[in-house]
């Protein structure tokens, strides 16, 4: 009898122990020997991981705070972070996407770090306004300059346009003016001249361009005077003539003008590979591409995006933020890590040297752009985008991106020339509208629940 009780007791104890273990082990904190320890969850490729390891090693040396790094693949990150939140193991410091900021704020996961950042003496005026404002949220609108601060930018990602200088020179095309964008017609003319069969085997092997609708349509729509939503983000405006014209022009590049590789190839990575193989004249360039593109066999440089009706270039700026958990046991050190990664000159230098980003600090970035050995030579274009003509992605500041994704899901027939842009957009606008309504309703509910 005694034995039995003992046995069942030990089974219970073992089970309870497992439960207790899982419940207690959330986040970092002071370890037994009084050492401070933060957990930092982020994502990125091997280059990025190495760069961050170097930067963080210095942080530990300076402050004595140890940092446990949890790194994931880009597409695993959202799942893993959400699982960590659900399991009550929110990392002290972690990356946050613009589009997820509001739900993380309203769920009480992200801490308001406005005061701590102010107290830390970081000069926010020396940082990209766009980058900092992306993580401000006033309870109703995100991205406004007066909201509370829920994170600092890990980086800003201006999506620039580039051209294969070697190819243009070889074909006797005058190099484009870095200060004056092509009009759409000029762009078609130039790309037509560059699309040809160079080895005479009867098949095209050089193209003017090769764009991906999901990443390049924004620039055309905006520069044509269109947009995805109205100003207060309540109405989907993709069924306007400006929008339709831009999308049609995009599809016509392939189907009418024939200056890109065939339509189905645009859906794969192939145009990227062809650009790197030197078969494509004009192609987008992000700061994250620079380290790879600098190794290519041809020279390239940056120019403003071809402009539609408005005559003004436009493009998007990506960004990822670094936020602090609301439940961290070391809020001060967590904020210190955030400001260090985002705004410390030495840390920024490490990350910029790795060729993975544009400096977050304005003065440093200007120096970086003006460097005589800059490659690409006109890398100032990146800064112009951040300061001047870049915008946030359409879904960056809404509660979730489902309404936005809807546009891409069935767009292929337009790209293939089987459906007109205007028809497609008229068909899709109501679906996007109802999804946006839903997302706005959720945002309101969430705000009310706070």
């Amino acid at each position: 009898m005694k034995k039995t009780r003992l046995l069942s007791l030990s089974v219970c104890a073992a089970l309870a122990g497992t439960l207790a273990l899982t419940a207690c082990s959330s986040g970092g904190g002071a370890t037994d020997d009084g050492e401070k320890k933060l957990t930092f969850m982020f994502r990125g490729g091997p280059d990025e991981k190495t760069a961050y390891e170097t930067a963080i090693k210095k942080f530990t040396a300076d402050t004595g705070v140890k940092v446990d790094m949890i790194v994931t693949d880009a597409d695993q990150y959202a799942t893993k972070l959400q699982a960590a939140v659900a399991g009550n193991k929110v990392p002290d410091v972690f990356y946050i996407e613009q589009a997820n900021l509001q739900s993380y704020v309203s769920s009480g996961v992200l801490a308001d770090i406005t005061e701590e950042v102010e107290a830390s003496g970081v000069d926010l005026d020396n940082m990209w306004e766009y980058g900092v404002d992306s993580y401000r949220f006033d309870g109703e609108l995100q991205g406004t300059p007066d909201g509370a601060l829920y994170g600092l930018p890990k980086d800003v990602g201006p999506f620039a346009f580039g051209y294969n200088k070697t190819m243009l020179e070889a074909n006797g095309i005058p190099l484009p003016d870095p200060d004056k964008p092509y009009t759409l017609d000029e762009f078609v003319q130039v790309t037509k001249q560059l699309t040809k069969d160079t080895d005479g085997d009867g098949a095209l092997d050089q193209w003017g361009t090769g764009l991906n609708v999901q990443w390049n349509l924004q620039s055309l729509v905006w520069s044509n005077g269109g947009d995805w939503v109205n100003e207060d983000r309540t109405e989907v405006t993709v069924d306007t003539p400006e929008f339709a014209e831009a999308l049609q022009w995009f599809a016509d590049l392939t189907n009418v003008h024939g200056v890109t590789p065939s339509a189905s190839e645009a859906a794969t990575l192939d145009t990227y590979q062809r650009w790197m193989a030197g078969e494509i004249a004009f192609f987008p360039v992000g700061p994250w591409d620079v380290s790879v593109y600098n190794e290519l066999d041809f020279d390239y440089d940056l120019i403003p995006w071809p402009a539609g009706e408005t005559g003004e270039s436009a493009t998007w700026i990506g960004s990822l933020g670094i936020g602090v958990s609301n439940t961290t046991k070391l809020p001060e050190d967590a904020v210190k890590l955030v400001t260090y990664l985002s705004a410390d000159a030495a840390a920024q230098q490490t990350l910029v040297d790795a060729g993975i980003q544009v400096p977050n600090l304005v003065d440093m970035a200007e120096e970086w752009a003006a460097a005589p050995d800059a490659e690409p030579a006109n890398r100032k274009e990146f800064l112009d985008i951040v300061q001047d003509y870049g915008r946030a992605m359409p879904a960056a500041y809404t509660y979730g991106a489902q309404w936005y994704d809807e546009l891409w899901t069935n767009i292929q027939p337009v790209i293939d020339g089987k459906q007109t842009a205007a028809d497609y957009l008229a068909e899709t606008q109501p679906k996007m509208q109802s999804l946006l309504d839903e997302s706005n309703a959720t945002a309101e509910q969430a705000a009310a629940g706070r």
Binding site: M1, T4, L7, S8, V11, L15, D75, A78, T79, Q82, V85, A86, N100, S103, Y104, S106, S107, G108, V109, S264, E265, A267, T268, D270, Q273, G400, A401, Q402, D405, W408, T409, N410, Q412, P413, T442, Q445, A446, G449
Partner: protein, 325 residues
Amino acid sequence: MTQTASISAPADKSRPAGPGPELTPEQRAKQANRRLHKSEHRWALAFVAPPVVGFLLFTVYPVVFAAYASLTSWNGLGPMTFVGLDNYTRLLSDEYFRTSLWNTFFYMIGIPIGLVLAMLLALALNRKIPGRTALRTIYYVPVISSLAAIAIVWQFAYNGDFGLVNQVLSWFGVQGPDWLANTATVKPALILMAIWKGLGYSMLLYLAAIQSVPSSLLEAAALDGANAFQRFRSITLPMVRPVTFFLIVTNIIAGSQIFTEINIMTPTGGPEFSSASIVWYIVRQAFRYQQMGYATAMSIVLGILVFVITVVQFRLNRRNSFSIE
């Protein structure tokens, strides 16, 4: 004691059990039996407890939790708001849910094809052909390889311009499509890969089953004048039936959860949502759009569907079951 119990057991059945104050000798014997084995019963309970507790904790609790979560509006982070059957009514009008469900069932076309191929392979490799161990191993390699790695390799193979598949087709003068970017070819392309991946496993099971078919039966049939095909159809095939049944059931359950290869090879759900499976759509709703409540409702529907299909299969199997006496 045990003897008494076993002897009294049939007697119990024949007697109508009625409430009576008088204990029959059998009942008294039973009680004594129970007392004697009390300690053993406790031990038995202690041994049974871990799996039962595990089952309650890791299966029943999550299912109940999911059932509740499916009735709420929940982003997976904050508190849940009870919304009744809203998520389920929303499902009915969600065209992407329907499409992904249809895609998922479409993928199952590969199951019978794979089983026929696996059976043929097993028959071939059951013969004494040179190098059969090597061949068996080769066919089994995809099974033990990481699905993610395989998906990436096949993604290269299916590439419209440089892919291996189209290169091979071009030898025969066929201009292959861009497999994964085309609504008409993306599902067949994924099915082909799934068949290739699962072939070795089914083959191995069939091989084992074929080898356990009593050779006396085959010999007897041969003496009676049955030719090879007749022997296969009337003896081997019925004898490996349990394996076929097992493979069909497990394949359908696994097939309804197809996700990894789709997520890797067509990260956006394919052109016009043509490759998205139900689990892919669930993951997207749950983690990209943070509609955890809605995603859970879809999972519940999927779970019920799989359950119903499996029950039907067991019923059918029982009706058709057959044995050689």
